[in-house]
């Protein structure tokens, strides 16, 4: 007689377990307030990334188009992937001495792994994370960026 009852209790347990599962999906079906989907291109105006979001490496420029990079190249040695190339330039200070300044700061976004070692190691805090994340381009060469803006110069009070 025992297997006979077991047959029915098995069916009962099976059906209740299935109904428990159906209760969950059924509940979500009737509660559209729980929908978590974000309508991405539509919410672009309101979409704000977190301050620390690692979108890309940028060089901070102030209102006078000045940056803080001295062109020392520490970031370049710290980068594990070779995605930074600092091309140095020489300039003459008013008192006639030769001084190293930044010529071009080349940043290969396509090679960057966003480890943050360049930003951490920079002695003059010239670099920061940008929050831009829509990096898709049609041509790979567009991923190579020059971070110092044209005509920019170094802030005067930065000393090495």
């Amino acid at each position: 007689m025992k297997p006979f009852f077991k047959y029915f209790t098995d069916i009962f347990h099976a059906v209740t377990s299935l109904l428990t599962g159906m209760k969950v999906t059924g509940r979500y079906f009737f509660s559209p307030g729980e929908i978590v989907t974000q309508q991405y291109p539509e919410n672009r105006d309101t979409l704000k990334m977190f301050d620390r979001f690692k979108g890309e490496v940028i060089m901070v420029h102030n209102a006078q188009n000045q940056h803080r990079c001295t062109g020392c190249g520490i970031c370049e040695t710290n980068c594990p992937n070779g995605s930074i190339e600092v091309i140095q330039d020489k300039t003459e200070t008013p008192d006639g001495k030769k001084k190293r300044i930044l010529g071009k700061y080349v940043y290969h976004l396509g090679m960057c792994t966003f480890c943050g070692l360049c930003i951490k190691s920079c002695p003059s805090n010239a670099l920061a994370w940008g929050q831009e994340f829509e990096h898709a381009v049609f041509d790979r060469s567009k991923l190579t960026k020059i971070l110092n803006q044209p005509g920019s110069s170094i802030i005067k009070d930065i000393i090495e």
Binding site: V24, V36, F114
Partner: protein, 375 residues
């Protein structure tokens, strides 16, 4: 006219049927190729072929300095990136005999456990999908998103954080971190009931997993199956208990051991572990002491010549880092003992004689991450 070929008469009963599962297959969770010999629906044997995403991380490490290695470890088991980072950081700290501040230990422990929960959530949803319950996939991802948002707010990225550095942390946690974690735990304690309702208790799921893919304790040790999969077989392999690091010797948590060693026990281990991780976080989250976020480290880190080994408990098992240093700023040789690599080696053993559908379930319960196997 087609040519009539007289095929040699074979005994059909004995003939095996080989199928290639992968490299592109929905249930291999990446590019793993399993050559499965079938007899009807029954798996006779299988041969894993890995290496489709072998990137030579160990070779690359030989060229990089210690802080640079960190970001490579992210890319091994990308689902427990923080824990991988932790292994290298601990190794460097041990070699240099640096004491990291208490605050760093607290934060690292909390984040490791968060990472473990996130990893198990992704495992849960992909396991559900392997079983054919597609809805699980979205519930798991929905809840994992909450952790990733916390990560993104504090560390700037969602998956590959590179947050730990030798000696400390890249930066301090975000002021909202504690609030966010507490809100998440409150949220997830409710939502984990959905997991149980929809999959754990489900009769179909139980019937499909109980008694399938049994791995005995001896085999688990012999195959080096660690993590939740090893503990399901009763192999007490939790590195957090055996060789405590960070704060694991101070917090109160249980190492849950299974006895059956089947797919269902492996499943339950991870479900328990998610709850256990939440307990650990709750013990620590309110007590993070103030202090520095990094110990004093030299600008160029050079390990004294010698050999170092550090083990941590990653989400999928024991992760070991073996470094041979010759005193330079780059390691001489780095070897990662990745948990999935050893776990995969047991797949052939435990999936003999099961059906294809079970093979998928077993694979899901071993929870392999292919980049970690290939490295």
């Amino acid at each position: 006219m087609k040519e009539v070929v007289n095929l040699p008469v074979k005994n059909i009963e004995e003939e095996e049927y080989h199928i290639n599962m992968g490299p592109q297959h929905p249930s291999t969770h990446g590019v793993l190729r399993l050559v499965v010999s079938l007899q009807g629906e029954i798996v006779k044997s299988l041969k894993p072929h890995c290496g489709y995403i072998h990137r030579g991380i160990e070779k690359m490490c030989e060229k990089d300095t210690y802080p640079q290695i960190i970001h490579l470890t992210d890319r091994m088991d990308y689902l427990s990136a923080h824990i991988n980072n932790h292994a290298v950081c601990l190794l460097v700290e041990k070699a240099l005999e640096v004491d990291v501040p208490e605050r760093v230990k607290y934060i690292r422990t909390i984040i490791d456990e968060l990472n473990r929960i996130a990893s198990h959530q992704l495992w849960w949803c992909s396991f559900g999908m392997d079983m054919g319950g597609l809805t699980c996939f979205f519930y798991g991802l929905r809840d994992r998103e909450k952790i990733l948002d916390i990560f993104e707010e504090s560390f700037g990225s969602r998956l590959l954080h590179s947050y730990y550095t030798p000696g400390g942390l890249m930066m301090d946690i975000h002021p909202n971190f504690q609030k966010g974690v507490k809100a998440f735990i409150h949220y997830f304690r409710k939502k984990i009931k959905d997991y149980d309702d929809i999959l754990t208790g489900n009769i179909i799921m139980q019937e499909r997993t109980k008694g399938i893919g049994v791995l005995s304790r001896e085999d688990a040790i012999s195959y080096g199956v660690t993590g939740p999969s090893g503990r399901a077989s009763g192999f007490s392999c939790d590195v957090r208990k055996r060789h405590p690091y960070a704060l694991y010797d101070k917090v109160d948590f249980n190492e849950i051991l299974g006895t059956e060693g089947d797919t269902f026990t492996r499943y339950m281990m991870r479900m328990y572990e998610m709850r256990e991780s939440m307990n650990i976080i709750e013990q620590l989250i309110d007590n993070i002491p103030p202090g520095d976020t990094s110990a004093k480290m030299k600008a160029v880190i050079k390990l004294p010549a010698g050999e170092y080994y550090q083990r941590v408990e990653a989400a999928r098992g024991e992760l070991g880092v073996y470094v041979v240093s010759d005193g330079n700023k780059t390691p001489y040789r780095v070897k990662f003992r990745s948990p999935n690599f050893s776990n995969l080696s047991a797949l052939d053993h435990i999936s003999r004689g099961v059906k294809i559908a079970d093979l998928v379930a077993i694979g899901g319960s071993l929870d392999y991450v292919i980049p970690d196997i290939d490295r």
